[in-house]
């Protein structure tokens, strides 16, 4: 990269959904971050139902949640990049991701999107991605999973 070129990003927040897409986006962002020495924050948000208080001990006890963060760290390490894992409890994933990106002064927010269809055949994008696209102040990358025979 030449001196007068700005890096693509300086600090990226990656949303970990807890599925197979996590490895793909962590690897992708880590490979992009390494040459430009950008920071990576990987966030997993546990949604807390309104029937429970927001500070209820839900995520802390879950081994599965810890595994999601550990795997993201391990994937980043393979690309020789350090990743800062963050676990959040929130009412809505989208709002929590946007808040975290603002809090961390991130200039990039990366999310994965599994290829899914609703009953009836319409492509389903869910609620989180439209929320983030609408509200995040930084750049947003959505990495859609390839269409497989099962998903189509």
């Amino acid at each position: 990269m030449s001196e007068n070129q700005h890096p693509v990003f300086n600090r990226a927040v990656i949303a970990l959904a807890g599925n197979a897409s996590d490895t793909r986006i962590v690897h992708l962002v880590a490979e992009l971050a390494r040459p430009i020495r950008a920071e990576i924050v990987a966030v997993h948000v546990v949604e807390v139902a309104w029937s429970q208080p927001l500070d209820a001990d839900i995520a802390g006890r879950s081994e599965q949640v810890q595994q999601i963060l550990d795997e993201a760290e391990a994937t980043a390490e393979q690309s020789k990049v350090r990743l800062d894992p963050v676990l959040l409890q929130a009412r809505e994933v989208g709002a929590a991701l946007v808040d975290e990106a603002i809090e961390r002064a991130a200039d990039l927010l990366v999310l994965s999107l599994p290829y899914r269809k609703r009953f009836g055949g319409d492509f389903a994008i869910g609620r989180t991605i439209p929320y983030v696209l609408k509200n995040a102040p930084c750049a947003v990358w959505v990495v859609r999973e390839p269409i497989t025979e099962e998903s189509s």
Binding site: A49, W50, S51, Q52, P53, G94, A95
Partner: protein, 228 residues
């Protein structure tokens, strides 16, 4: 404090907004999805887009751990159902209902709603205060609504003129406690003679209104009572 507001109209919206600004935890239930999304865009992800009249959704909105449930929809029937479920099914300590039709107030009280807010009644009270009428003015309801603070504006012809408070026969459970004379509020002492222009403040149960009227204003003139 955790407050569950049901109804995302103007009242619910501003109520939720004010509560959030006062650092309370708030959930707002609004059954109209478009309106719910609009509110969420403006004040954040605190909106549950479901009908608060359904117990299942009240539960999902956290009714069981709410300190207060405020039912402020435009439908009295809905507000009553919401408060009843909150009170009796979810054991919410305090329920507040908006009552649009003043005729429903008694029913709401009877069915155990802790607090009733009637915008119609409030506006009516405010209008009555600004218009010099010979009637009793209902200033405020106390407790669970069984007691009222009432103002009587004494005019020429009032049977109370020239008599002391001690000489008046008050209905049971009703007492006169203050007088506003020449714009100054004073405690109403037993030997104080009442004058034209005095505003006498009384407290008593709802049902003593007509007796109080007889004592302070005079017998109700049935011919002058509007019929339409």
């Amino acid at each position: 404090m955790f407050v569950l507001v049901v109804g995302g109209g103007k009242v619910g919206y501003y109520l939720a907004k004010e509560l959030i600004e006062s650092s309370h935890e708030v959930v707002l239930m609004e059954k109209d999805r478009a309106r719910a999304d609009q509110i969420a865009d403006e004040i954040g992800s605190i909106v549950v887009a479901h009908d608060g009249c359904e117990g299942k959704y009240l539960g999902e909105a956290g009714c069981a751990r709410a300190d207060i449930v405020a039912a402020v929809t435009g439908d009295d029937e809905d507000n009553l159902v919401i408060c009843q479920m909150a009170k009796h099914h979810f054991d919410v300590p305090r329920t507040i209902a908006r009552v649009n039709n003043p005729k429903n107030e008694e029913l709401f009280r009877h069915l155990g709603v802790d607090e009733i807010i009637s915008p119609t009644r409030m506006i009516l009270g405010s209008i009555e205060q600004d218009i010099p009428v010979h009637e009793l003015l209902h200033l405020a309801a106390l407790g669970e609504g069984e007691l009222e603070i009432i103002e009587a504006h004494l005019q020429d012809g009032s049977p109370a003129i020239g008599r002391t408070a001690g000489e008046l026969t008050m209905p049971e459970g009703c007492s006169l406690f203050a007088v506003v004379r020449d714009g100054i509020a004073k405690p109403l002492l037993p030997d104080m003679a009442l004058r034209v222009g005095d505003k006498v403040i009384a407290i008593g149960p709802n049902e003593c209104s007509s007796r109080l009227h007889e004592q302070l204003i005079g017998a109700v003139d049935l011919e002058a009572t509007p019929t339409g």
